[in-house]
C-alpha cells in the first residue's frame, strides 16, 4: 500500500479523533472538594456559646451496609482526628467553647461520611424528620428547619458536618439541625486529609453568620 493511501485516511481518522468530545481535566476538578452549606436563617448563631464534638470518632453511613457504623482514629486510619480537630479549631476561632458532652453544651457537632448515598439529590423540607444517625446517648431525632434543593447527585462519598441545636430541644425530644456542610467527593480525592481540612475551612468561610 502506498504512503498516500495510508496518509489520507490516517489524517481523516486523526481529525475525527481530535474533534471528539474531550473529558474535563479530572485532576483539576478533584484537587478540591465541592463545599455546600445550608443553614436555618431564623437562628441567631451569636446566641450560643458552647459545643461538644467527638475527639476521635466520626460516623459512617453507607447504603451498601444498612447498619450504621463509625470510623475510629487508629494507627491505620488517620482521618477522623484531623477532620474533627479542624472543625473544632474553626469553631474555637469563631469564639465558641468546646465542652464535654455531659457539660450541657449548646450545640452538638455531628461529623460523618455518607458513602454511596444520593445525598445531593434530596429535596429537604422543613420539619422533615429523620432519626439521628448515631446515638451518642441523646435519644433525639433531628430535623432540618429550612427548605433546600440540591440538584446534583453523589453516589460515592461526602463528608458531612452538622450543628445540632441542643439549646432548643422540642417537647418530643427532637433537635434541630441548624447548619450543615456537605463536602464531596471524599472517595476521589488526591490528598484526602488535606482536602477535607481545606473544605472544612471553606465551609466556615462561606458561612459568615456563624460567629459569637
Amino acid at each position: 500500500m502506498s504512503t498516500k493511501k495510508i496518509l489520507k485516511p490516517g489524517a481523516l481518522f486523526l481529525l475525527l479523533l481530535w474533534s471528539c468530545q474531550p473529558e474535563p481535566d479530572t485532576l483539576r476538578l478533584l484537587d478540591e472538594l465541592v463545599v455546600s452549606t445550608n443553614y436555618d436563617s431564623s437562628v441567631d448563631f451569636a446566641g450560643y456559646s458552647t459545643y461538644s464534638i467527638s475527639r476521635d470518632t466520626i460516623g459512617f453511613v453507607s447504603n451498601r451496609n444498612p447498619n450504621d457504623t463509625i470510623l475510629v482514629q487508629t494507627s491505620q486510619t488517620d482521618y477522623p482526628r484531623p477532620v474533627l480537630q479542624r472543625v473544632a479549631s474553626n469553631l474555637d476561632d469563631l469564639g465558641y467553647t468546646q465542652v464535654e458532652p455531659g457539660e450541657n453544651p449548646d450545640w452538638r457537632i455531628n461529623v460523618y461520611v455518607v458513602n454511596d448515598y444520593n445525598l445531593f439529590q434530596q429535596v429537604v423540607y422543613p420539619s422533615y424528620y429523620y432519626p439521628s444517625y448515631y446515638g451518642y446517648g441523646y435519644g433525639y431525632g433531628s430535623y432540618y428547619a429550612y427548605p433546600y434543593v440540591n440538584t446534583y447527585a453523589s453516589n460515592t462519598g461526602s463528608l458531612v458536618v452538622e450543628i445540632l441545636d441542643l439549646k432548643n430541644i422540642t417537647p418530643d425530644n427532637k433537635v434541630k439541625v441548624i447548619w450543615s456542610a456537605y463536602m464531596g467527593d471524599v472517595y476521589s480525592t488526591i490528598e484526602l486529609v488535606k482536602q477535607s481540612q481545606e473544605a472544612i475551612d471553606q465551609a466556615f468561610i462561606q458561612s459568615p453568620y456563624i460567629h459569637k
Binding site: S19, P24, L29, Y152, G184
Partner: protein
C-alpha cells in the same frame, strides 16, 4: 475508497473539514474558541453551468472552559467549587450555494450559500465528580462563504475553506441561553466529481 462511489456519479462533491468556532452568545458562560469541531457534507451541482448546488451538511463542535473556584450564594447557604462549562453542538442542515463565475471553472469554485436545519446544544457543568446537564434542539440558520480548489483539472481531490455564522434558537434556561450563535472557520478536503 469510502469517499468514492455511486454518489459521485453526477457533478457533486463530498467534503470533510476541520471546523474552528468562536461562541458569540452568553460569552460569560463560555467564550473560548473551540478547535474541536468537524463538518462534512455532500453537495450536488444543479445545471450544466455549475452556478448552483444543494446538499446536506452535518457538523459538531465541542466548547469547553475552565472556571476557577467560586462561591455561589443561595437563599439558605452557599456552594463553593471550581468547574468546567461545556457545550456539545450538533447540527444538521439542508444548504444551497451560489458559485461565483471565475476564469478557471475547472479548479476554483468560490461560493456563498445558506444552510437551514436543526441543531442540538448540550450544556453541562462538571465540578468534582458531579455533572449537571441540559440540552435542547432549535432551528438552525447558517450563512456560509468559501472556496473549493481542486488539486488539478483532472483531479478529484481538492481543498475547501469557508467561513460561516451559525444561529440556533436552541435555548437553556438554566445556563441563560436565549439562543446560541457562533462564528466558524472550516478547512479540509473535498472530493469532487465533474
Amino acid at each position: 475508497m469510502l469517499l468514492s462511489g455511486s454518489a459521485f456519479a453526477q457533478e457533486s462533491y463530498f467534503y470533510f473539514n476541520w471546523d474552528v468556532n468562536v461562541p458569540l452568545a452568553n460569552t460569560s458562560w463560555i467564550s473560548s474558541t473551540s478547535s474541536r469541531g468537524a463538518k462534512f457534507g455532500f453537495r450536488k451541482f444543479i445545471g450544466a453551468e455549475r452556478k448552483f448546488a444543494a446538499g446536506l451538511d452535518v457538523n459538531w463542535a465541542y466548547f469547553q472552559e475552565y472556571k476557577p473556584t467560586e462561591t455561589f450564594q443561595q437563599p439558605n447557604g452557599a456552594i463553593t467549587t471550581d468547574y468546567f462549562n461545556d457545550i456539545f453542538q450538533f447540527g444538521l442542515a439542508v444548504s444551497g450555494q451560489y458559485y461565483f463565475p471565475v476564469a478557471d471553472r475547472e479548479r476554483f469554485f468560490p461560493y456563498a450559500g445558506l444552510g437551514l436545519g436543526a441543531s442540538m446544544n448540550a450544556f453541562s457543568t462538571s465540578y468534582n465528580i458531579y455533572t449537571d446537564e441540559e440540552s435542547s434542539w432549535g432551528f438552525l440558520a447558517r450563512p456560509e462563504a468559501g472556496i473549493l480548489v481542486r488539486m488539478g483539472a483532472r483531479r478529484r481531490l481538492g481543498l475547501m475553506a469557508a467561513g460561516h455564522y451559525d444561529f440556533s434558537t436552541s435555548k437553556s434556561a438554566s445556563y441563560e441561553y436565549d439562543n446560541f450563535s457562533n462564528a466558524g472557520f472550516q478547512l479540509g478536503i473535498m472530493i469532487m466529481q465533474l
